[in-house]
């Protein structure tokens, strides 16, 4: 037998051994589409309709069909025994960069033409990590390098689906704005263009809004004249074409109310600046992200109908984030501002229940109101509360099942369902949750461990500036070269 044959034989035997091992440790359950299931006899926290002990939740083809006690269902329906468990809606995170391919296009103060929907990595194991924390929907956001960033992507964490299957189809479009240090640092300080100051940030917004209004007028006129010419070519002159401008069309849609603004912000003065700008242009139903000084202007925010999505107790990672308090969420809430607690972190997203619990601890709000801050409130901010955020008949079967009251530090999320399918099961899932398609054939075990360690460690300061910092450091955001 030759060396080559010996080598081949050994390789074959190794592969066979390992492949047999693989059958035991297969990839995690991946999304197959809406499913039917009965979750039986749990303490059901509906969020909007009270807590229901010893209650069943019956999901049919991904939609909650019935909630009640001792429900009768077809005999072939899979059953999850939730006795002594707490059943609550899947958590909604209104601020995440969980699985972006790129987070910041930090080369222009306005990038509304861009969409994060074209920057989704469906293979990132971070999706599974978030499911492990009971999260089922996220606002996958552009970073905060630009005054007006990209449009965001609202996702359902259908782990295993492709970049299209992850998208929350019914969700309205949202877009990222950013005020303060980040855009002034990136553009004014970085490349010497407006904005260099907070005043400049306002100017950028007003200018692009005015440009959009003017564009909209010209484009509409052109399209109307073109249509009229096609109807009556001899009587209506041909119009000079006005090119579609994606950047301005998106801004126009914001003014029209078709796109919801989620604005990175910290200081009360800049928050009020945007409230006033939006008032001038008639923009409504927007959300301030972070809003660490939101508590200072809580009544004004409530009056404007603005939402707030905040950290429970995270601050001091840069100058504009020093004036902060752990009572922020509670004060906003008490003043009538629809408030959510977000993660902005791939680590924190795994225990948003703890973040909500802190609001009870510091602000003294009710436990149900705290849970609302990670379920129905962020769902409202994303315009998806008709579908998720509470356990109600007709809503999506997005559920997390906990070992105890989810606000307890001892509670563990045991199971997470999306569209009725169990996509996280603490008891039965393999330790290695990576998708088959995400496994590299040439990555070392040590490198993988480092990567995982990096991904689950605490939030990096100013995570919203991912990619932008790379641009600062290297001067090049994309340097790879195709050397055919």
């Amino acid at each position: 037998m030759t060396t080559q044959n010996l080598t081949t034989l050994k390789g074959l035997l190794t592969a066979l051994f390992l492949l047999s091992f693989t059958s035991v440790l297969a990839q995690p359950t991946t999304y197959d589409g809406p499913q039917s299931v009965l979750i039986k006899n749990g303490l059901v926290k509906t969020i909007t309709q009270g807590d229901l002990p010893n209650t069943d939740v019956y999901i049919v083809n991904g939609i909650i069909q019935e909630i009640g006690q001792d429900l009768s269902v077809p005999t072939n329906t899979p059953v999850i025994d939730a006795t002594d468990k707490v059943v609550m809606p899947g958590i909604v995170d209104a601020h995440s960069h969980l699985n972006t391919v790129s987070t910041n296009e930090a080369t222009s103060p306005v990038t509304s033409e861009i969409t994060i929907k074209e920057s989704i990595d469906p293979n990132d194991v971070a999706i599974y990590h978030a499911l492990a924390g009971g999260v089922t929907s996220i606002n996958l956001m552009h970073g905060s390098a630009n005054v007006i960033g990209a449009r965001n992507a609202t996702l359902k964490l259908r782990y295993g689906a492709d970049q299209f299957g992850l998208q929350f189809q019914e969700a309205p479009q949202t877009i990222k704005f950013a005020l303060g240090e980040n855009p002034t640092r990136v553009h004014g300080q970085g490349t010497g263009v407006q904005p260099r100051t907070r005043m400049g940030v306002e100017r950028v917004i007003r200018d692009i809004f005015d440009d959009a209004i003017e564009y909209d007028r010209k484009r509409e006129t052109y399209l109307e004249q073109k249509a009229a010419h096609e109807r009556r070519p001899n009587r209506v002159a041909l119009p000079v074409p006005v090119a579609k401008n994606l950047r301005l069309e998106v801004i126009s849609d914001i003014i029209e109310g078709d796109i919801l603004v989620h604005c990175h912000s910290y200081r009360a003065d800049e928050i009020m600046m945007l409230v006033n700008v939006f008032k001038d242009y008639g923009v409504e139903n927007y959300t301030f992200q972070h809003a660490n000084e939101g508590f200072k202007v809580a009544p004004e925010l409530a009056e404007a109908g603005a939402n707030a999505s905040v950290f429970s107790d995270w601050w001091a990672y840069k100058f504009e984030v020093y004036y902060s308090t752990a009572y922020n969420a509670a004060i906003l809430h008490e003043n009538g501002v629809n408030t959510s607690i977000n993660s902005d972190s791939n680590e924190l997203i795994r225990h948003l229940n703890h973040e909500a619990a802190k609001v009870v601890r510091y602000g003294g709000i009710s436990e149900n109101d705290a849970l609302k801050m990670i379920t129905i409130n962020p769902a409202k901010q994303l315009g998806i509360d008709e579908y998720v955020g509470s356990l109600e008949v007709g809503k999506h079967g997005d559920v997390s099942i906990w070992s105890a009251d989810p606000l307890s530090i001892y509670a563990v999320n045991e199971m997470t369902l999306v569209d009725g399918q169990v996509l996280f099961n603490r008891k039965t899932d393999a330790p290695d949750a990576r998708l088959d398609r995400a496994i590299s054939h040439d990555q070392s075990f040590d490198d993988l461990q480092s990567e995982v360690s990096e991904s689950i460690r605490g939030r990096q300061d100013d995570a919203c500036m991912e990619d932008a910092f790379k641009l600062f450091e290297s001067g090049h955001q994309s340097e790879q070269s195709h050397n055919y």
Partner: protein, 482 residues
């Protein structure tokens, strides 16, 4: 794993025409009116192998392919003998060969308006054609000749849209004033890649490249419409449009007349390009070394072909180590290679220790890691097979100039990836021609362009086969096998 029978050196039999002499070098050629090969074996793109064939070509065109026929008296016999094999010359479906290198991105400064750099600074140059700069005597073209490539679809290197590609022969007539144009067909498609502008300039990310691309086509659409209006009736009073060479060059893409030749690194990238194609309704050709089988149904449905780049993938370190561990056993048995110095002895000792390291010492976690990586490695090896089985049309692109590596990669996919040598030959020739829409290349039939490889051996893929000549557009290139 199977290889065709190799022929022994003893059967080598061919005639070199002496007067060709130094004219048959890889760098200096003179067109001869008529050539031929006799008594050779020929592999056609349909897999048929015919023996004792005569091929006659003149002025770059194959005039006759037949058995036992005598060449015209005017034809010069290049080679003859049944030890020789003739296969279609390869076609590189997309490359930068023969063209100057791209500017070093580190030299890019920040433009005055980073958010709106010039077209050139943004890497948007679809109006750029390679003809005027293609240098057939460039070393990268010579490397193609040596590997058996008779034609290259070449485009400028660059960023997001570095230009259009044109098909060139790898040899051309040399005159007193230099080489004649080796161009076969101009402007085959628009090259696109997810390469940002570099430095602090828009676009930097893939998502911005998507948006910038869309806006380019919106602008081109409006300009085309404006030009059509002005040139048509009923627009006498209309102001004339401001002409824009970049936007105007995109009209064929916008009108679906030419493909986007998109370089992608993952199925997700490919899906993003297909989103653009869906919106603007143009054909796409992918250039990649990635396994696109996960999106094969979409590619098949949209009749989107793939130009695959052959590079031998590296096995996981631990599999490589296991493979290497087998070899010392053989070496020990072979006394002639016994280590005879201290360093070697130390190395052997080290190897011996690692050999004895039992797998049981691996943590359960690492064992699981290896199990899944073994599956990933199997999938990687079978990627090309999987894509072929899915019904994708596969061609080749991106030959990197190293024929040893290239043929090693081909043999890897043949031996480890279960792709037949005929399938590989088709990928390298007829499939690529078909993908590029070039009918007269990639086959050895009468009327086709005389592009072929003359091989000493009966298995073109074998390590023992020697490529003697590459014929490109009828020009004979002697391959230096030293």
């Amino acid at each position: 794993m199977k290889r065709n029978d190799r022929m022994g050196e003893a059967s080598l039999c061919f005639w070199m025409i002496l007067f060709l002499g130094s004219a048959l070098t890889a760098t200096a050629q003179t067109t001869l009116p008529s050539y031929g090969v006799q008594g050779v074996n020929v592999i056609q793109s349909d897999g048929t192998i015919k023996s004792d064939q005569t091929i006659h070509w003149a002025e770059g065109i194959i005039r006759r392919v037949s058995s036992s026929e005598t060449l015209p008296s005017s034809a010069r016999i290049l080679v003859e003998g049944d030890s020789l094999l003739i296969v279609p010359a390869f076609i590189d479906g997309l490359n930068h060969s023969g063209l100057p290198d791209a500017e070093d991105p580190s030299s890019y400064g920040t433009p005055d308006r980073p958010s709106d750099p010039t077209y050139d600074r943004a890497g948007i140059q679809p109006h750029r054609l390679p003809e005027s700069e293609f240098d057939v005597s460039h070393s990268s073209v010579a490397a193609h000749q040596s590997a058996g490539f008779g034609a290259i679809n070449s485009s400028h290197p660059g960023r997001m849209m570095p230009g259009q590609s044109s098909l060139f022969f790898t040899q051309a007539e040399e005159t007193f004033s230099g080489f004649e144009s080796p161009l076969y067909e101009s402007a085959l498609g628009f090259v696109f890649q997810f390469e940002g502008a570099g430095g602090r300039a828009y676009p930097a990310t893939d998502m911005a490249i998507m948006a910038r691309f869309k806006q380019l086509l919106y602008d081109a659409e409006a300009l085309q419409q404006h030009i059509n209006y002005v040139e048509g009736p009923g627009a006498e009073q209309m102001e004339t449009p401001q002409r824009d060479a970049v936007l105007e060059s995109l009209f064929p893409l916008l009108n679906g007349e030419k493909p986007l030749m998109a370089s992608v690194e993952s199925p997700e990238d490919a899906e993003r390009v297909l989103m653009l194609a869906d919106e603007f309704d143009f054909p796409v050709i992918f250039a990649t070394d990635a396994d696109l089988s996960p999106i094969a149904p979409k590619l098949v449905q949209s009749a989107t072909p793939v130009l695959f780049r052959f590079e031998k993938p590296e096995a996981p370190d631990w599999i490589q180590k296991e493979t290497e561990e087998t070899e010392p056993v053989e070496n020990t048995a072979n006394e002639s290679v016994a280590a005879d110095n201290a360093d070697d002895a130390a190395t052997d000792e080290s190897n011996s220790e690692s050999e004895q390291e039992p797998d049981e010492e691996l943590s359960e976690e690492e064992q699981a890691f290896r199990a899944r990586q073994a599956s990933a490695w199997e999938a990687k090896k079978g990627a090309l097979r999987t894509m072929l089985d899915a019904g994708l049309m596969i061609g080749v692109h991106g030959y990197n100039g190293n024929d040893k590596d290239f043929f090693e990669a081909l043999r890897f996919y043949h031996e480890e990836g279960e792709v037949t040598s005929q399938e590989l030959l088709n990928i390298l020739s007829s499939n690529t021609a078909m993908i590029l829409g070039i009918e007269r290349l990639g086959t050895l039939t009468e009327g086709s362009v005389a592009n072929m490889i003359v091989i000493n051996g009966q298995d073109w893929l074998s390590e023992d086969a020697t490529r003697l000549f590459t014929v490109s557009n009828g020009h004979v290139i002697t391959i230096d096998n030293d």
